[in-house]
């Protein structure tokens, strides 16, 4: 649940602070040279100095922990005011961010951006390269895959906030009821799907109406690398490469045969299905436990976690979801923003995120005994973190997203979604998705598949 942030309204407080801020800065400007807040680069000392001065930054984030992190940050640096604004979840926020960037004003200082959307913003020259603040030295603090997701063309465009190595969440009560063994390969998974649906026609192994993030992660796990970008504008899209076909051929066996529930993820019906066992598993990122605990309390004790099934039995994994935070070039307080960013994703903020149920991207947290040995009561006392952390090393390296992934994902249901709707081969849908994506890229001036 929401923690109490402040009893005073945000609006009233910022008005007061702006007022005093203006008065103070007029006074300060008279006797000192322009201070560090507006500077473009700096090292740790510059950041520390900037945090001592009166300033205000705006942070766009929807992760609930950010409000608490901001409050804690303000206690430590009382001269800084952090306005946390929920400008929408995921794509809704990206639209606003893009609008503000195009308009040249209105963007926040710091924004939460998921990994799949980072290349789009990074390559559009809207984000600050964090090497300007020496943050490239923080590489060792994060897992390889999350660090890889925030670096583009040699620059560092965000600090990872959480990570999402995939896992199989399954409803043990349902499995036990029908005598279904936990699958370790996808063939076993399909067999389990058939077994479950035959035993209980209302139940399904999972739900799927077509989700771009899920599909790209699964292609990733199957070893596909459909997207490559060189020289910033040369792009290739191949959604029929070996990994893509392997995934599509396997998963089509489920979608063509009515073995997945036609409920959309994150809907009212989806939460119900997870609660009453009619959706028996989820192949999804490691951040899911927090969502299950708060969103599906009725099923506490029913669920467990296992490694994601693979194609040949040897564990292999991909990341699904998760994101980091970046500083916008439009920011007028880059040093302060950098200070907050570091606090949130490398300093004390990480502990607050952890307590709120986020899955960390910081190596120290992922290796700490306390984290690994935690027994989660929701999962019947299982040490879920241990399993999830161990699956990070299985993540296939070398994956990258498109410089226009946000758009491409937005037309996923127009294209691949039709294969779901028609219960036909997913490969056709993937081809159609590829064609539309390529067309868009070329229209936007990229050189795609040429």
């Amino acid at each position: 649940m929401k923690t109490a942030h402040s009893s005073r309204g945000r609006f009233g407080r910022s008005a007061a602070v702006i007022g005093t801020g203006i008065a103070l800065s007029i006074g300060l400007a008279a006797c000192a040279p322009a201070a560090g807040g507006g500077a473009e680069t700096g090292n740790a000392d510059d950041i520390a100095a900037a945090l001592e001065e009166k300033s205000e930054i705006t942070v766009w984030a929807w992760a609930p922990a950010v409000e608490e992190i901001a409050a804690s940050f303000e206690k430590e640096y009382p001269n800084v005011t952090v306005n946390v604004v929920n400008a929408g979840t995921g794509n809704d926020q990206y639209i606003k961010l893009q609008n503000a960037i195009k308009a040249g004003s209105g963007a926040p200082d710091v924004a939460q951006i998921e990994y799949y959307a980072l290349p789009q913003f990074g390559l559009s020259d809207a984000l600050v390269d964090l090497s300007d603040f020496g943050f490239d030295a923080l590489e060792d603090k994060y897992t390889a895959s999350t660090w890889g997701s925030v670096t583009l063309d040699g620059g560092v465009y965000a600090l990872p906030q959480d990570s999402g190595p995939m896992a199989l969440f399954y409803n043990k009560t349902v499995f036990d009821k029908w005598g279904i063994a936990v699958p370790t390969t996808w063939d076993e998974y399909i067999a389990a799907a058939q077994q479950l649906h035959a035993a209980d026609p209302n139940a399904y192994i999972t739900n799927d109406t077509g989700d771009a993030g899920f599909t790209t992660s699964m292609i990733w796990q199957a070893g596909g690398q459909p997207y490559t970008t060189t020289a910033q504008t040369n792009v290739t899209v191949d959604l029929q490469d070996e990994g893509s076909r392997k995934f599509a051929d396997t998963w089509s066996q489920l979608t063509e045969n009515d073995l997945v529930s036609p409920i959309s993820s994150w809907s009212d019906e989806w939460y119900r299905g997870l609660a009453d066992g009619t959706i028996a598993t989820l192949a999804i990122g490691a951040w899911m436990p927090g969502n299950l605990t708060s969103g599906v309390p009725d099923a506490a004790g029913d669920w467990r976690v296992a490694k994601l099934p693979s194609y040949d039995g040897t564990p292999v994994n991909a990341e699904n979801g998760g994101g980091g935070d970046a500083i916008l070039k439009q920011s007028k307080n880059k040093l302060v923003a950098a200070g907050f960013l570091q606090y949130m994703n490398e300093g004390e903020g990480t502990q607050i995120s952890l307590a709120a149920g986020g899955f960390p991207s910081t190596v120290s947290d992922l290796e700490s005994d306390e984290f690994l040995n935690a027994e989660d009561p929701y999962f019947g006392g299982q040490k879920v973190n241990e399993l999830l952390a161990s699956s990070i090393e299985d993540v296939v390296p070398g994956w990258s997203y498109l410089p226009f992934q946000v758009y491409s994902n937005s037309i996923f249901n127009d294209t691949v979604g039709q294969s779901y709707a028609e219960k036909s081969d997913l490969n056709t849908g993937l081809q159609s998705w590829q064609d539309a994506t390529v067309q868009y890229g070329n229209e936007q001036g990229f050189t795609v598949n040429k």
């Binding site: 402040s6 992760a63 609930p64 951040w287 969502n291 969103g295």
Partner: protein
């Protein structure tokens, strides 16, 4: 359709109107005079219609009495579990530092200034079109009616880009300014004023030396009152339910109207560790539609009498 409307204007009877009738010949009495009996069949058919209209609202009411967990596990159309309406209302009003109340106040602001302003501009303009012949009058009419056909989305992006150049995005002005134009309000007042404000009265005032605005405010407005109330009613509904433009113009929740705020709460279920707050979305929706229903019921009395008066006037 998100635009306001006009009443039909007066019919074109073939017989000239006569002096006001005495009560014996009013519509209602006349039917009684014919011994028209109430039809049960008709009533039953209409009742089905009403069920259709009210069913979703009934679901809303019932759902707002349930807790979050009950919502997800019980049959939608009947009560279940503890009666949580007041808890839900309290939670809705206090969630996130009471942002819902803020949204409510924002919506009130947009409605009062926006709908009020729209009614005023429509009154002024419709009156001008009805009672004055001025150069460019035909062009004005054509342009205004033509503008109605333009899809809102055609205007959304250019308006957004324009407003961001002017620094208006993310401020209440971005919502209020576009809602000040009600072409249908203009049309309605124009048709209403043609008959409701007799030119003789205006001429009399002019002869007495009153300025045009003075005449307008002291005499014409009163005559236009029923039409004004109708325009007000529809602009109030339109501004209260305004969704698309605020969605684009506002990036931060501080200035959201209720509709956009509810939409954001609804989308909030999809966050890491976020709590789905369907019970708040539903209770919030209920709280959102109650004031507008009350407003309609309240304004309806005036509007009804206005129409009745219109049918009897000389």
């Amino acid at each position: 359709m998100t635009t306001t409307t006009t009443d039909a204007g007066t019919a074109a009877p073939q017989t000239p109107r006569r002096a006001p009738r005495d009560s014996r010949y009013t519509r209602k009495n006349m039917h009684l005079g014919m011994h028209k009996k109430k039809s049960v069949l008709l009533t039953v058919i209409m009742a089905l219609f009403v069920i259709y209209s009210l069913l979703p609202l009934f679901w809303l009411l019932v759902s707002s009495t349930k807790t979050q967990t009950e919502l997800l596990s019980s049959f939608g159309l009947w009560f279940s579990g503890p009666f949580a309406l007041f808890d839900n209302i309290a939670a809705t009003l206090t969630y996130d530092d009471g942002v819902f109340v803020r949204w409510f106040l924002n919506t009130l602001l947009y409605v009062v200034v926006g709908a009020g302003g729209a009614t005023f501009l429509a009154a002024l303009g419709g009156y001008g079109l009805a009672k004055f012949n001025f150069p460019g009058k035909k062009a004005v009419f054509a342009v205004v009616i033509g503008a109605v056909a333009i899809p809102g989305t055609a205007l959304a992006v250019p308006t957004f880009l324009m407003f961001s150049q002017m620094g208006l995005t993310n401020t209440p002005w971005a919502i209020i300014l576009p809602s000040l134009i009600s072409p249908f309000g203009l049309y309605l007042i124009w048709t209403y004023a043609l008959d409701a404000v007799p030119t003789e009265v205006l001429e009399a005032a002019r002869m007495d030396g009153a300025g045009e605005f003075r005449t307008f405010f002291t005499i014409s407005l009163k005559l236009l009152a029923p039409g004004l109330v109708t325009v007000l009613l529809f602009t109030v509904v339109a501004t209260w339910n305004n969704y698309f433009l605020p969605l684009i113009m506002l990036s931060e929740p501080t200035w959201y109207p209720l509709t956009v705020g509810l939409n954001q709460w609804n989308a909030q279920a999809t966050t890491v560790g976020g709590d789905p707050i369907y019970n708040l979305v539903i209770t919030g929706s209920l709280l959102t539609i109650i004031p507008i229903i009350v407003a309609f019921l309240f304004l309806q009395r005036f509007w009804q009498s206005g129409l009745a008066a219109g049918s009897v006037k000389a």
